[in-house]
């Protein structure tokens, strides 16, 4: 028994020394370092890798917004936090820019506390001024701000637009923006878009289905698989992560943060694919050698 154990130990040592075994167990610190370099390089020196064809979902939301008549009311639900901002904020800025160009009336709203600063940031980037200081604030743009209790809070707002009576800055909601709306409910909106890492289903469940408002999204890539369940029956389209944002920036011919980040995104993916291939070569080679030895 003792001798047998020794043989097993010796085989284990030999196995651990083999290059195929080492390939499979590279210290993760090196992988992180490679990723850091691969991401930093194209940010410092852009390569200009092609983005490929614009996806159907991005084209869908772009075309839908393009075909809305001037002055249509678009609700922007900025439900994002720092975890999703890097990939969803560029898309939000691009869509707001496009809406401003088309002359739509925009409502900003969030059901997450962390969404508040991103409303301001997107408006600043698209309008060039602070949202509250814009001359059209109150007539073309309004910021409802944060309503607590997530979808329950949103349901209250959808059933009665004057649920909070004031906007995020304390102005009376009854004065200008909502003056000419017929029902003063969410049914008056022409389109709703949710942004961030919250699930996509909520806007379909609480806005599209009960109020008949078509909805889209600018969602974190990790949640895109859930959103496809509603496409194309219940949504004309949505932006998937940073790539969706980059596609939208190209469609409106205003390349920005997302397009600039796509080189880094592509190279990072390429390096991950290469590492997965190397790891698999190591695994299969080690397995083949193991079998040969037996």
């Amino acid at each position: 028994m003792k001798g047998g154990g020794w043989v097993v130990e010796q085989r284990k040592d030999e196995k651990e020394k083999s290059i195929w075994y080492k390939i499979q167990s590279i210290d993760v610190k090196w992988i992180y370092l490679i990723q850091m370099i691969v991401i930093s390089y194209p940010l410092l020196r852009p390569i200009g890798l092609p983005l490929g064809t614009i996806s159907e979902e991005t084209m869908g939301i772009y075309n839908y917004l393009n075909n809305l008549p001037e002055g249509s009311i678009v609700l922007h639900c900025v439900n994002m936090g720092p975890t999703a901002a890097a990939e969803c904020l560029p898309g939000l800025i691009a869509i707001v820019r496009h809406n401003v160009e088309l002359g739509h009336r925009l409502i900003f709203y969030t059901n997450t506390a962390t969404g508040v600063p991103y409303i301001e940031e997107a408006a600043r980037a698209a309008l060039g001024t602070e949202l509250r200081d814009h001359p059209d604030y109150g007539t073309k743009y309004v910021n409802i701000g944060y309503i607590p209790q997530g979808t329950t809070g949103f349901s209250g707002f959808a059933a009665d637009i004057f649920f909070t009576t004031t906007d995020a800055y304390g102005n009376d909601l009854k004065t200008t923006f909502f003056k000419d709306l017929p029902t003063k409910t969410a049914a008056d909106f022409d389109f709703g878009i949710t942004y961030g890492s919250g699930n996509f289903a909520w806007i379909i469940t609480y806005l599209r289905d009960p109020w008949g408002v078509p909805c889209g999204g600018g969602i974190a890539a990790g949640l895109a698989a859930d959103a496809y369940a509603y496409y194309p029956e219940k949504t004309p389209g949505f932006l998937v992560g940073l790539r969706g944002g980059a596609e939208y920036e190209l469609l409106i011919k205003k390349p920005g943060l997302a397009a600039a980040g796509m080189d880094a995104q592509s190279l990072a993916h390429l390096s991950i694919i290469i590492m997965v291939i190397i790891g698999n070569i190591g695994y299969f080679a080690a397995r083949a050698r193991g079998r040969g030895g037996e």
Binding site: A86, I147, P148, D209, A221, A225, G261, A268
Partner: protein, 221 residues
């Protein structure tokens, strides 16, 4: 302190916290722990403040109209404080159950129609080969989790096909998650490389990590 100085200080703090959190990639360390606690603390503080402001915006107009019945919601909210005392802990269950019940009520009214009936209808309405494939995937995927009877005959093949569909779905989900996490790193690296004066902290962080690695090595020896 001028506005510009405040902005510089904020950017430097953000860069320091980002680098301290990244330092976890080397190993768990004091800088990471400080940044982690500061992040959680500030997130909770910010969330509490914004939520209180939001609640005030919803409540105040009703009180101004003389609808004092809404003050009950504040009382129910205060019951959450029962969490901190063993004697009054039971009170904490009331607001929790009210929030859960109202959330469930709103969801059942809307969610069942959209996410259960809606999805089921869309699955069985076969229009083209893609929707047919989807239907096959859903049915076989459900068979994979069916444990009431032993998998025999055609059920074996169906659950195998279901497993392949599930693995394809998990693979797609994983790929999208990698894309999402890479975007996060891109966002932080972009901030560190281009935001003034964040990039001044990069060499400082490298020197500190290098010193840490040397310290570890010396200790090992």
């Amino acid at each position: 302190m001028s506005m510009v100085e405040v902005e510089i200080l904020v950017t430097l703090s953000a860069a320091a916290i980002t680098l301290a959190l990244f330092s976890y990639l080397w190993r768990e360390n004091l800088a990471f722990r400080i940044a982690e606690h500061a992040y959680i603390g500030s997130a909770v503080g910010y969330g509490a403040l914004i939520t209180a402001e939001g609640a005030k915006r919803v409540l105040m107009p009703k009180l101004e109209k003389g609808e004092y019945i809404w003050l009950l919601t504040v009382l129910v909210g205060l019951l959450y404080l029962g969490f901190f005392a063993r004697k009054w802990f039971f009170l904490y269950r009331y607001p929790i159950s009210i929030v859960m019940a109202s959330g469930m009520g709103v969801y059942i009214a809307r969610g069942v129609k959209t996410n259960l009936i809606g999805h089921a209808l869309n699955t069985i309405m076969i229009k083209d080969w893609q929707t047919a494939l989807l239907a096959v995937g859903v049915i076989c995927g459900l068979f994979y989790f069916y444990s009431t009877a032993e998998h025999k005959g055609p059920m074996v093949y169906m659950s195998k096909v279901g497993r392949w569909f599930l693995m394809a779905a998990f693979g797609a989900q994983m790929g999208l998650h990698v894309m999402a996490r890479t975007s996060l790193v891109i966002g932080r690296i972009r901030f560190l490389l281009f935001e003034y004066p964040a990039y001044y902290l990069i060499p400082v962080a490298f020197i500190l990590v290098a010193a840490g690695i040397v310290w570890d090595y010396m200790k090992k020896k």
